[in-house]
């Protein structure tokens, strides 16, 4: 960690995932061999990093399968998927009532210098000029501004640029706040006319990665984009392990500092790429799930994890970015998207805002698939929401050779239906290192359609291929033999992996169904499915339907919006009026705790088949499976003849 080297640590240092194996080449350690490391590996010097105590200076080799490659994270922005692609322009037109009116305002002011006849205070002079020139009244003033005020005014010969922000009276009570209650606050003063340099930074604080964009508040252009892994990954893959870590001594502080450090890096990168002076950045907007928002602000997420799952706050007053540790001007305020509940966060609110679902009639299912899957169902009249804990399978967690969607991950897969030999496509087109979540979905869909696995996810051991074999964890399919793999060992998909994927997709599907049932509706009522999130961007809709992760609906009803969180944050940066919409969305949403719903478990069990126990819900898949079976049978007979 301290050397800045990323090591996979799916289990957060608990020692159970075995992902953090490293080779000790030199030096002395104290370690023990757990079940995730073989005697042979141990003999070669491999150790689980999290289970190893350093006793001297070391030379450590990070095995290739433990690496995360930062270069490939940027790839998640491409939408090379089935379903409807949405262009950048179109994305911003999904929401209605959008207008260009940033919360931040820069005004150039020229004043007459004071005289004995008019020796009002410097501040009064400035405010009077703002009133005369721009009709601005009742402005409050950040008292930090006062210290330099007389000097800036005189050095600039009474020609300055004032930056003002619209703040508001926060109400946490669930009522819709009137627009009239905004306040204008003077937060920065610059010598001369700097109105042409007026920037905002928007951030998506994801559990896995952090995205940032630098926006020009004059030209409305995105000047730069940057991203990085959320370094909190070191402390656990999912939000629950982060909460667990935050309860260790100093844990909360470490988690906050690590993500803030990464944001600072992104901010510097944005400034460098766009060649702007960071001092001209006036505002920051961040969207993240409830836990990421808590950790960013240093709020203790302890009670989010304990029933009845209460966050400290859903609506958080804007804070000064500097107080959080962000290295921007002391006048910069950070606005964080409000959350709905412990597991339905500001990222979802941001996405709902950006997609305009809350403004339109069609009944829409909005999903962000991931370890913590988030589901919203509704339209302009009502919305219900739920979070469902799908487990880490979609992100390669709990999968024997699972990995994130980075260099070397198998992401596409075809099966020769006769020889059962694989055709692999990896990210970066290099030797395979492992399997990412979308790759696994594609494999399982292929396996199912080719009859390699049963609807229960069990391998057909009668097939004439050596790739299906007994492995250390049960039956498995060899995706790549050692000589073909970057890791120098066989890469396999096991029945346990498939079962984990089935659990994950079943949780998501049961979530949709339970949420629909809670309002007396069913899958058939859905008129639109909006898929948000990095993972969603890579999904092949047809195959996701084939395994029962997505409901079977006509393909043109699916819409991919990519990073919904960043989308909403951009909108709010450009259009302050949208703030009200963001908060209105929170108040419209009714949160359903799936774990407390008696029907959820039934729906879950029913979804533990491929694609589903009730094939009525997947007529297309059923037909295709039947057709394929027939073909395969014929082919096989022909081959046997």
């Amino acid at each position: 960690m301290e050397a800045g080297v990323y090591i996979q640590a799916s289990c957060g240092g608990e020692g159970v995932c075995g992902k953090c194996k490293v080779l000790i080449e030199k030096g002395e350690v104290e370690s023990f061999r757990g079940p995730k490391i073989s005697a042979e590996e141990f003999g070669q010097g491999l150790r689980q990093a999290c289970q190893t105590r350093i006793l001297s200076d070391l030379e450590v080799r990070i095995p290739v399968e433990s690496e995360l490659d930062k270069r490939f994270i940027a790839r998640t922005r491409e939408r090379v998927v089935a379903g409807r692609k949405v262009s950048h322009q179109e994305l911003e037109s999904l929401v209605l009532g959008w207008c260009f009116s940033p919360a931040l305002r820069k005004q150039y002011v020229e004043m007459e210098p004071p005289t004995l006849k008019d020796n009002r205070s410097d501040l009064s002079r400035l405010l009077l000029a703002l009133k005369k020139l721009y009709g601005l009244e009742g402005i409050s003033v950040d008292s930090r501004l006062l210290k330099n005020l007389p000097f800036i005014l005189r050095e600039a010969e009474w020609r300055v640029t004032a930056t003002m922000v619209q703040t508001r009276m926060e109400s946490q009570l669930g009522e819709y706040q009137l627009r009239g209650s905004r306040r204008t606050k003077l937060i920065q003063l610059e010598a001369g006319d700097t109105t042409k340099e007026h920037y905002s930074i928007v951030l998506d604080i994801g559990t896995t990665s952090v995205w940032g964009q630098l926006l020009d508040l004059n030209s409305r252009q995105t000047l730069a984009e940057a991203s990085d892994y959320n370094p909190q990954i070191r402390y656990g893959d999912d939000v629950i392990s982060r909460i667990v870590y935050s309860q260790k001594p100093g844990g909360l502080k470490k988690l906050q500092e690590s993500v803030v450090g990464t944001i600072n890096g992104i901010v510097r990168e944005l400034a460098a790429k766009s060649k702007i002076d960071l001092a001209r950045v006036s505002h920051m907007t961040a969207a993240g799930n409830t836990i990421m928002t808590h950790l960013l602000l240093g709020l203790d997420p302890k009670y989010i994890r304990e029933s009845p799952y209460t966050p400290v706050a859903n609506f958080i007053p804007p804070v000064r970015a500097e107080e959080v540790g962000l290295e921007v001007g002391e006048h910069v305020h950070l606005y964080t998207f409000p959350s709905v509940a412990s597991y339905v966060g500001g990222d979802i609110v941001s996405g709902i805002l950006g997609s305009g679902i809350y403004q339109r009639k069609p009944l829409t299912l909005y999903i962000d698939i991931g370890t913590n899957g988030e589901i919203v169902i509704g339209n302009s009249e009502w919305m219900v929401t739920a979070a469902c804990s799908a487990g880490p399978a979609f992100e390669g967690g709990g999968i024997k050779h699972g990995m994130r969607a980075t260099l070397g991950a198998v992401e596409d897969f075809r099966l020769n239906p006769v020889t059962f030999e694989p055709m692999l496509l990896t990210i970066g087109m290099v030797k395979p290192k492992g399997i990412c979540g979308s790759g696994l979905i594609n494999m399982v869909a292929e396996f199912l359609e080719a009859g390699v696995i049963s609807p229960k996810g069990k391998f057909n051991v009668d097939l004439p291929t050596p790739r299906i074999r007994q492995g250390s964890d049960g039956m498995e399919y060899v995706l790549a033999y050692g000589e073909d793999a970057a890791i120098g060992a066989d890469i396999v998909v096991t029945e346990v992996d498939i079962e984990n994927l089935i659990r994950a997709k079943a949780a998501m599907y049961a979530g949709y169904v339970t949420l629909l049932q809670s309002v007396g509706l069913a899958i058939g009522n859905l008129e639109q499915v909006v898929i948000a999130g990095a993972f969603g961007s890579f999904i092949d809709v047809e195959r996701a339907i084939a395994i029962g992760l997505l409901p079977e609906l006509p393909l043109d009803r699916f819409l991919f919006i990519g990073n919904g969180s960043l989308l909403g944050a951009r909108l709010i940066s450009f259009c302050n009026e949208m703030l009200d919409d963001g908060e209105r969305i929170c108040r419209m949403m009714t949160n359903v705790e799936l774990s407390e719903s008696p029907s959820f478990m039934d729906n879950y069990v029913a979804a533990m088949f491929l694609p589903h126990t009730n094939l009525e819900e997947f007529p297309g898949v059923r037909a295709r499976l039947a057709e394929r079976k027939e073909i395969f049978t014929t082919e096989t007979q022909r081959a046997q003849r």
Copy 2:
């Protein structure tokens, strides 16, 4: 300074006043003999501290005449004067519309713990309870509160006390701000019911001394009072020398830290005297002149001293006390009284508020006599104000044996009209050390009436007394010979001293007249004179009229209100509604720069006599002088016969 020893330093270290003489008993220094130190003194080891560089460890004796005695500062609270004394109760009834409604509010809240059916955020739960129980809505929240919120709520079993403050939208534009624009902000949360412990601290930050009171916001009682010198005295007696010091490297910081340190001491003393826990103090209010307010908040007063004399700000948004360095809870806000102009500060606004002048018809002259004399003239319809630089004579500055009104200062004086021998009364009734301002007024009035000095302030050298003699600075009167004096040397009043007093009183009087003329009125139109301030409390009205410092009006038109600054601060602490009145007063007042008024110099020259060139304005004094002259002439003739 660093040893915490007070040394008089009237000139702020410029080396011109000669007040800071110290005796070097041991050790090595580098120094030079200026005109203020005799060769004999220099030979004895006396040095001007401000002109001396320390070269080794030293033993230094502080001569008795250089000391300030803290014990006697408290004495300024007594009003042993002519004119109308005002009782404490009466003082608070001078202003109309006073009601008990502090800006700070404490409410006890009991909540139901969260359940799965109601797992709103902790903050929402609290705010909902405040709404349900007390009808409070649209509350904003200090984000600092969020970090401990979940723990306080749970440890206190959902029974807490919320402290809220009414803040406001600041307008610096001279308009009267509507009451409706207040905001309620939640600033503190305490476990259990602490509503019975609810305190406020009020402060008067004077150029010379700092006063504090601890108020019980439940019982409306003053629980304790404490005071101390303003330690900035070390850096100069008057506001101008403080501004000069603030411009030295690190000067502003030192000035701020020194006064903040003293306030912290006063705050601790208040807590100790009243036996309350400082954590229960919810609010602070401070009144001070514009320069003291700037220095307290760390605002640079540089341009207050340079024409056209502009302060940084007159209306200052409330700041968190902790940010200023005050050692109170981080939730405590400091409200500083708004100022009118560079030399008409919040202390005057506070006094005008407390005296209720702005609410009543009678034309009133409000004065605070001092180095920087402040004058307000007006009533409920209009007010004009001016500051006049009277020089330090009233505070013993620029007077050969001048000193502050502390132990050993001659404060009362009678003259035997035949022998011209003095009768002295000193503060503490000890051997005289020197002469304080009010003492000097009494002496000059006696001298004038006894014919010892002419209306121009020159000694009658023909009088048969050895006390009138030629001294090193010209003619002088020996008040006390060395054997009678605490300083072991003669204490004298010189013609230069008298001239300095005449200049000071002339500046004040010319100020009243010029200000009255600016609105087309004259002294005779005044229906009331309100005298505020520590110095004013000691003035003998008849003698002040006799020398022409106060206008000649019937004695029952004079009202002494003592520390007007503290009076207004108390009112605002108890009655938040009065905040509006304070700001309204600022906006009502028209500031007149006397130095820019062409008639001021004429009025000043006319006032450079005792009592005045135009004796029509002092008919009573004229009659008394004529009568006395007649008696003296008769007495003298009789004696000669």
